[in-house]
């Protein structure tokens, strides 16, 4: 992992929203890196700020504070149309709801080619059609689908269209915001497998946002756990799952239902108690094991070091 290049660095990202007179700290001081070619999973419950983080990274919001560095350049300080267009060519998004994210009045061809048009990557109509057909084949659809409208497709097929659209302009990095939550189990596996296959073929990097922990574990190389706008734990998928350090991560994992009746009968849930530590202390991410971070105060490091040792 050491020689791997960082494609994205998120540094102290803060995203606040004004709601009436108060401020909601949707994302509060979140930092992590994503390496080229990996899948970084972001998990957390609703309201934890995982979606907001993904959207802020793509500059769909103006961050309140912090830096987002994509391939060495601060996304918030891109100058001119050209630089901004380049960033949005390299970084794309797949949305959660395949029913809401496709314009019902556009044909599949127009939906997929919209990015190609904007970024002027096609010479003529025939070329446009050819590219769309290539993309459709890539995601397991056929050329007959190009002239149809979104309502003619099932949820899984729509999500494939969404993936084809994201891939149209050859991005390097894709934010996938709960891309499978709206799909049936058998279709979820299809889409996840497709995403994995495309990642290998196209050398893609993913930020995979989801609340389904078992699926995140399956697809991710590294995982970050969020709660109330803060990143609590970051590590490899194996570390976070099999050797979680933060109590919240433990409680989250203990709540995941496993499709195995014997395991379920024995399951012990761990309740998360956030009053264990003084909540007022300043906290930041500390590296407990190489590459395995926990958000804690300076004097709590020992506690987590011990926790890490208990797994050995």
């Amino acid at each position: 992992m050491t020689e791997k290049k960082k494609i994205l660095e998120v540094k102290n990202l803060k995203q606040y929203f004004k709601v009436g007179r108060s401020t909601v700290k949707a994302v509060d001081d979140v930092s992590f890196d994503i390496y080229e070619g990996e899948t970084f999973g972001l998990v957390g419950e609703s309201g934890s700020g995982k979606t907001t983080t993904g959207r802020s990274i793509l500059h769909l919001y103006e961050p309140t504070d912090g830096e987002i560095i994509f391939e060495g350049k601060d996304v918030n300080k891109l100058k001119g149309k050209k630089e901004k267009l380049k960033f949005h060519r390299d970084a794309q998004m797949i949305f959660q709801d395949p029913y809401a994210s496709l314009n019902p009045r556009m044909t599949v061809e127009d939906i997929i080619a919209e990015g190609l048009d904007i970024h002027q990557q096609i010479k003529n109509k025939a070329d446009r059609k050819k590219r769309v057909i290539e993309l459709l084949n890539l995601v397991g659809l056929s050329k007959e689908h190009a002239s149809r409208f979104p309502h003619e497709f099932s949820g899984g097929q729509r999500q494939r269209i969404g993936i084809a659209r994201a891939l149209a302009i050859n991005p390097k990095f894709i934010v996938a915001d709960e891309p499978i939550s709206a799909l049936d189990v058998s279709i979820q596996a299809q889409v996840v497998n497709l995403m994995k296959e495309l990642q290998e073929k196209k050398k893609l990097t993913y930020l995979f946002i989801a609340h389904d922990l078992s699926m995140v574990k399956f697809i991710s190389d590294r995982i970050g756990v969020m709660r109330f706008g803060k990143l609590l734990e970051v590590g490899t998928a194996d570390e976070v799952y099999n050797r979680p350090l933060h109590d919240y991560t433990k409680s989250l994992i203990s709540a995941v239902p496993i499709p195995d009746p014997e395991v379920e009968r024995k399951r012990q849930r761990i309740q998360y108690d956030d009053s264990k530590f003084d909540p007022r202390k300043p906290r930041s991410l500390h590296e407990i094991e190489p590459g395995h971070f926990v958000r804690c105060a300076d004097d709590e490091v020992d506690y987590y070091l011990k926790a890490a040792k208990s797994y050995l």
């Binding site: 899984g156 189990v185 058998s186 279709i187 996840v192 239902p257």
Partner: protein, 344 residues
Amino acid sequence: MTEKVLDVKNLKIDFHTYAGDVKAIRNVSFHLNKGETLAIVGESGSGKSVTTRTIIGLLAKNAEIVGGEIDFHGKNLLATKEKDWRKIRGNEISMIFQDPMTSLDPTMKIGQQIAEPLIKHKGVSKKEAWKKALEMMKAVGIPDAEKRINQYPHQFSGGMRQRIVIAIALICEPEVLLADEPTTALDVTVQAEILDLMKDLQKKIGTSIIFITHDLGVVAGMADRVAVMYAGEILEYGSVDDIFYNPQHPYTWGLINSMPTLESEELESIPGTPPNLLDPPKGDPFAPRNKYAMKIDAERKPPFFKVSETHYAATWLLHPNAPKVVPPAEIRRRQKRFAEMKEK
């Protein structure tokens, strides 16, 4: 001898649409034992929700019950008139819906909503019902119940709202509770709490539950028995151990295989999509997506073959003349465990 609370026999339901008749339920039979939880698993469009809605008499206007019978205490529910349904619904049979955000009345205090079934069905006085509602709120784990009984749904979180919905459904201590994906809209930690709550209350009240979900993890933790539905038919049913450790139908294999376990390295997805029920397939409905399919699967519907006293599956693979196929690795692993469990 276990007592049958509900017996569904040869249920057939069509939906009339502009495109033609959608044969949503095609000859479905199952029963529910007293005090047990029966999980019906299946993908969207498999007919699991339509089946439960039929049991509580809430089918859409364009639905037609083509045939069958639902026996509930010697009474055929399918022949029940709307007037009589009102005595059953919320009283003897109640239902929890998927989305707690839309299944409560936003203009009514939640105390009123919980107390209403008692007043309507049991003729309890308002004051008494209010007291019972308060007890019920405590039973479903709503903190600060004395204060919150006077609040409105928008003042509650999703998990709390689902607790309220459960309180409403169970206040008359119904014999049968239908739960249609009651935790799908909730976060995992909240889901775990709600499932524990349902199990607790079931023990207390002795309600029989039909639990509808597509999450096999939830099924493994909740169900006593499982029925697997696909394209309007039940393909396999058995005890929870039968289905998870000794599945027989290739569709059940596919479902189990497409769920990541914490160890899985690869996910095997089921190719293709479910059939169009405007023109349902003649044979095994799963045949077009089934790599183990034989010629006969496309031509003739397989009957239920008996695997054990509790376990039946509708697949030609169980016919004595069928060739032996090797199920996927994950299924073989589970079947090995099943054999070990049997020995003990």
